[in-house]
């Protein structure tokens, strides 16, 4: 079945409009729909269709190269799909301008696959419907989130379904039903969008694990209480170029948490809100610009999944971050939507004002099972009687003097008492551990002293790479520390002993220089692609692609000297038309076969009418039917034919019969 007239044209116009190339869409629509007005057709064979298919494949290859050069792994489809209507245009144009209505399936395979049966080899397909689907898909990727997309989509789909609907159901009922479906569909699409947000929140940790991310903005499962050596890879994950002062920020933060419970840190009220972009689409202003500030340029691969940014404490503006959306929450987490896989953004920061929300009751909450140990330490240190700044200094000194950093986690049996949690035992007994112990214990001790505080995760910046001439951050530099609220601002506090960095560096693998070198190459390539991808493609690839396409079209149109067939003019048609084929009786026949046995092969219309005249539907019409067949026979076979009066009489009889048949079939109440 062919697509209904103007459907493809409308779909292409919709695609052009949604993807900001209305002129291209209009021209393509004109070419395809113009075929109905054209009086000629090409006689295309398998070879010709094969050539058109190869042209489409070449365009697809070009599209893929373009998409790969300007996109990243995660958003390849956003660059690949929008051009599908152009890619497959030669095939569709070939079909609509050919003498065939369809394209043989074998054309699409070279060589013919062995599993193809002879029936499949001679099968022919109509490519207009798949093309229609490709256009809709391409339009959906343009991502203009308005009601108009849904409306256009519904109109085009409704148009298609309308032409193929079953005549069993009356048109008004069909339209009403489709209207209901459009409404339910719209509600469902909103529900899908909301559902994704809920699911993301609920299963964020699994998403983060599945995509190799270390950070989950909703929940952090620490290694507190686990035994054995902590292992993180030495792969480089961030590259830091400080500008202005030349010194990097010591810590790059990803997210913070408020509630602690048995080794888990949870984020309360972590809902994200979108940040409006600044004067340029890749510029994001978060806070008013302070008088003095520092800046840093951060290169990283965001990958798939939650896509959280690492930013210095007190970041007030992000720049050169070409993403679709940036969202933040009250816990100082930056999350990006859309955009490239590799980013190289600048962050300006000043460690005063931050985007973190003001402290709440949860920032002072202490878990019940840690309360005993914390009170004991607080009593020992006299935290309850100290001013906040004194309490902070005391806590810092307490960890510096009495604690040791280790990546090997053990729980000494001789000192253990079963009721205590690992964190309490860390504070009271073994007093060694990794950063998560220190950060968690610090947060809880600060809260014990009445200072609102949060647990923060991110990366420590400490390694300068002489090869790259910039700071690099490895996976094993993942770190946890504390922020506390004092003097109307949030401040950072890292109580993990400074020796942790040496301890971590000592764990570097012997092959790390090799992986670093490969990582540097990969980074340079990614940066080159991000900076020059589009330009390089247009300057080199485009220069090659254009003559290729011109050559393909020339080969198709000119070299082969294709035969063009003119459609028969109406005057010529009449020469071959059987006499009387315009008789009104045929209308009656098509109506009769719906309510009476159809005409058998070889049965004359008069015999057939005689046979069916006794059926319930035809009995009341018998005399009119015989009048009609008498006039029809005269119109067909009488050399003198019917005069105008008789012709009108035939039409009247037929109309009367059809009306009566319809009344019988659907009696009005």
């Amino acid at each position: 079945m062919k697509t209904p007239p103007l459907l493809l044209g409308a779909c292409l116009l919709f695609w052009g409009w949604q993807t900001d190339i209305p002129l291209v869409g209009a021209v393509m629509a004109l070419v395809l729909e113009g075929s109905r007005a054209m009086g000629w057709r090409w006689e295309l064979g398998d070879d010709d269709f094969g050539r058109l298919w190869k042209l489409s494949l070449s365009l697809l290859l070009g599209d893929a190269v373009y998409a790969m050069s300007v996109s990243q792994r995660t958003d390849l489809d956003l660059y690949l799909f929008p051009w599908l209507p152009i890619v497959f245009f030669p095939m569709v144009a070939g079909q609509v301008y050919s003498t065939h209505d369809r394209i043989p399936l074998r054309v699409f395979f070279w060589p013919l696959p062995s599993w193809m049966t002879p029936e499949q080899r001679i099968r022919e397909i109509n490519v207009t419907y798949p093309y229609f689907g490709a256009c809709l898909l391409a339009t959906s990727v343009s991502n203009r989130e308005t009601m108009l997309f849904y409306a256009g989509n519904a109109v085009l789909l409704g148009w298609t379904l309308w032409t193929a609907r079953s005549r069993r159901f009356p048109a008004p009922a069909w339209l009403a039903l489709f209207a209901v479906i459009i409404a339910v569909g719209y509600q469902s699409s909103g529900l899908l969008s909301r559902m994704q947000k809920v699911l993301e929140r609920r299963y964020a940790s699994r998403i983060a694990q599945g995509t190799g991310e270390l950070t989950d903005p909703y929940e952090s499962r620490t290694a507190i209480g686990r035994i054995g050596r902590l292992k993180l890879s030495g792969a480089i994950t961030l590259r830091i170029d400080p500008f202005f002062s030349g010194r990097p920020p010591g810590l790059l933060r990803q997210t913070s948490y408020t509630l602690y419970n048995s080794g888990y840190w949870l984020a309360t009220r972590p809902q994200f809100a979108r940040v409006p972009s600044g004067a340029y689409s890749d510029e994001w202003e978060l806070l008013p610009e302070p008088e003095d500030y520092d800046g840093v340029r951060i290169s990283t691969r965001l990958g798939e999944g939650l896509r959280l940014l690492a930013v210095p404490h007190g970041a007030f503006e992000l720049d050169r971050l070409p993403v679709k959306d940036l969202a933040t929450n009250r816990l100082g987490t930056f999350r990006v939507f859309g955009g490239p896989d590799w980013v190289n953004y600048s962050a300006r920061f000043h460690p005063g004002q931050t985007i973190d929300g003001p402290p709440g009751i949860e920032d002072l909450r202490i878990p019940r099972n840690e309360d005993t140990a914390l009170q004991r330490i607080a009593d020992d240190l006299g935290l309850h009687n100290l001013k906040p700044e004194e309490a902070i200094a005391t806590i810092r000194a307490f960890f510096e003097e009495h604690f040791r950093y280790t990546t090997f986690l053990s729980l000494p049996e001789e000192l253990s008492f079963e009721a205590a949690s690992p964190l309490s035992r860390f504070l009271l007994e073994f007093r060694e551990g990794h950063c998560e112990y220190f950060a968690s214990a610090t947060v809880l001790l600060l809260r014990e002293a009445g200072i609102p505080s949060r647990y923060v995760t991110g990366y420590a910046v400490r390694e300068f790479s002489p090869r790259e001439q910039r700071y690099v951050v490895r996976m094993r530099d993942a770190h946890a520390w504390t922020i506390y609220y004092a003097d109307g601002h949030w401040h950072e506090l890292d109580t993990t002993p400074g020796s942790w960095q040496e301890a971590e560096s000592a764990r570097a693998a012997w092959w790390e220089p090799v992986t670093d070198y490969l990582s540097t190459l990969q980074f340079r390539f990614a940066r080159w692609r991000a900076e020059h991808g589009m330009g390089a493609l247009l300057s080199y690839g485009g220069a090659l692609l254009v003559p290729l396409i011109v050559f393909g079209v020339w080969r198709f149109l000119v070299k082969k000297r294709r035969r063009r067939f003119q459609r028969l003019a109406p005057a010529d048609k009449s020469l071959v038309r059987p006499r009387g084929d315009d008789s009104e009786f045929y209308r009656l026949e098509s109506q009769l076969i719906r309510c009476a046995p159809e005409r058998r092969p070889g049965e004359s219309p008069a015999r057939w009418l005689a046979r069916i005249s006794d059926t319930p539907a035809c009995r009341p019409l018998a005399s009119s039917l015989f009048d009609a067949i008498r006039l029809h026979y005269r119109h067909r076979f009488d050399p003198l034919g019917l005069d105008s009066h008789e012709r009108v009489q035939l039409a009247r009889i037929v109309d009367g019969c059809i009306e009566q048949l319809r009344t019988t079939a659907h009696p009005r109440r």
Binding site: S140, N143, N153, L157, R168, S189, K324
Partner: protein, 448 residues
Amino acid sequence: MSKRLLYRCYRIISDVQYWIRRRFTNGGQFVFTGLVLAAMVGVDTTRTLAYQVFALLFCVLAFSIAFSLVWTAKFGAQRQLPRYGSVGVPLTYRVRLVNRTSKPQAGLFLLENLVDPRPTLREFIEQSEPGEAERSWLSRWLGVSRWRWLATQRHRGRFRERAVPDLPPRGEVEMAVEIVPLLRGPLRFTGLSLARPDPFNLLRAFSRVPLPQSLPVLPRRYPLPAFTLPGSMKYQHGGVALASTVGESEEFVSLRDYRPGDPVRHVHWRSWARMGKPIVKEYEDEFFVRHALVLDTFLAGGDSEVFEEAVSVAASFACTLQTQDSLLDLMFVGTEAYHFTSGRGLAHTDQILEILASVQVCRERPFHSLEHLVAEHVARVSGCICILLAWDGERQKLVRRLEAAEIPLLVLVLAAPGRAGDIAQTGYRPERFHVLESGRVEEGLARL
């Protein structure tokens, strides 16, 4: 064990494919494909708007599925089948449908239900497709192509669904239906189904009418050129039993003088009266030209397509030969040795074709049982057409034996595609020897 598991998997997959093909219209399959694509592209609602396409398609399809589950209309049906069908020849018959509901039924489609064409587990394990040995071990182990081949081989008819004329309440309607038989033998119908599309014409609900019937399908026949069979009348004793009349019906030859011992009923009384001495009528037996059509059914692991072609060639000869004045002995070996004679008021061509429609490959008996069968009847035949599936030592021995009996022969050997040359170059060749290549048999027969 693994074959059993694979067999189960293929059955489940084919069940699903069959369900989709029958339930979904072309539009439905298109919408379903679009739904899957939209789900893949729109899985992240923050990146594209494909999820909106997904939502709309999902609602349309969900409605169609729900609608297709509720249809309880009942129908009656009667099928008027012809006596025979032939492989590859479209067969038109009439179906009378009765609406057993009090509502008019419009926009329905009729589908025929044939017996399940899928192979049994035993067939799947034991039978192999042609050229399977040349496939990779993985392909052989998986057996996908074997499954496909077996299912195709057993697919007995191709049917296109037909639109049913509007059925008035409690009324009936008659319509013509066409089916193309694809295999010889019985074409078994289990019933027919009436399909009702949903308003969007995506899915269909079915009302099934059990109507088991069977139709014999005759083998495919090829036109033969003007052709004279080898051999002629050579006093083969047709005998009275094979004549068209009942009792003694020997041919009258002449009158002669009475000899002692002649039966009294042979006395020609008028001549005795005229001549004055006893004269008797002299008779002799009727003699017929009698041809043997020997069909080789011993297919040793070869291409069953070749065997089908051999049966078609035999059927072509059986229905082309003029048997008013001659007899045709069809000989082949099945579960036992069979010998049928047609012509001269015995079996008609139709019956021979019916027999050929049910011929199967013989796997239980050795080839020499065919040789014995031919040897039994060789004395009575005036010419022989041998249709063979190979040209090996045993078959050459059979042909040599017939040549030694001085019986004019026409030997036709069926070969797999591309193998005709190998057989044609074999050393021994009788005088009238032709190799017919499967797939180009018609061409080969035209050169006879």
